[in-house]
């Protein structure tokens, strides 16, 4: 897992390794599973509408299936330029 911007700050670290159970199929499932397991993640992920994700460095919707992705990033909407 990689976290950026205020998601990273609220979780308190920029990365972690997780091993979700088989019923975690989508990015949204993964977010829910992490939130269920820790108050810190639950607080960081409280406002799902403000979360965006990438699978193996490509932007995806939260409904995307994790499949064989090795790297999942969770972050706020981007604000570059």
């Amino acid at each position: 897992m990689l976290y950026f911007a205020w998601v990273r700050e609220r979780i308190g670290r920029g990365s972690e390794v997780v091993d979700p159970p088989g019923e975690v199929v989508t990015v949204a499932d993964l977010i829910g599973w992490l939130a269920d397991g820790s108050a810190v993640h639950s607080a960081a992920f409280a406002d799902r509408a403000r979360l965006r994700a990438a699978l193996d460095q490509m932007f995806v919707p939260l409904e995307a299936v994790l499949g064989s992705a090795r790297e999942v990033a969770i972050f706020p909407p981007v604000t570059g330029g």
Binding site: R8, A54, Q57, F59, F75, P76, V78, G81
Partner: protein, 144 residues
């Protein structure tokens, strides 16, 4: 060419590199840290690897769509002060229309497609910048 780095951006140097390719028209966009509303510092975070890949995809799309001679995006990351250059986008083409359109395409789509996050400090208070709905609209106009 894509560069994402904490070094100061020298717009004249970027422009000179674009001019070397024999283009008939060059368009540039230079984004600065705004100084007019009390911003003291700006910190730019990015997603290393994914950022460069996203910018590279945009440059390749622009080069193909507008038959560009050259295209460059140089984006600064890390700590900056008002007046500093945040981003330089430059396009070189045979004529003005493709250069201007491709340059607008690149900066509009960079705003929504590249993983950068801005954090600003003003009057001692730090906050993450919220995206603007108008950025989504600007990016959407380039959909084919």
């Amino acid at each position: 060419m894509i560069v994402v780095a904490p070094a100061r951006i020298d717009a004249a140097e970027q422009f000179a590199a674009l001019s070397a390719g024999g283009a008939g028209g060059i368009a540039t966009f230079v984004g600065l840290v705004r100084a007019d509303d009390g911003v003291a510092t700006l910190e730019l975070e990015h997603y290393p690897g994914a950022t460069e890949a996203a910018l590279q995809r945009l440059v390749e799309e622009a080069r193909e769509r507008w038959r560009l001679i050259d295209a460059r995006i140089t984006h600064r990351v890390g700590a900056m002060a008002p007046g500093d250059v945040v981003v330089f986008v430059g396009t070189a083409a045979a004529h003005r229309a493709p250069a201007l359109e491709a340059c607008a395409f690149l900066i509009d789509r960079l705003k929504t497609d590249a993983p950068f996050w801005k954090k600003e400090t003003r009057c001692g208070e730090t906050r993450w910048v919220e995206p603007r709905g108008s950025d989504d609209a600007a990016a959407a106009r380039w959909s084919v």
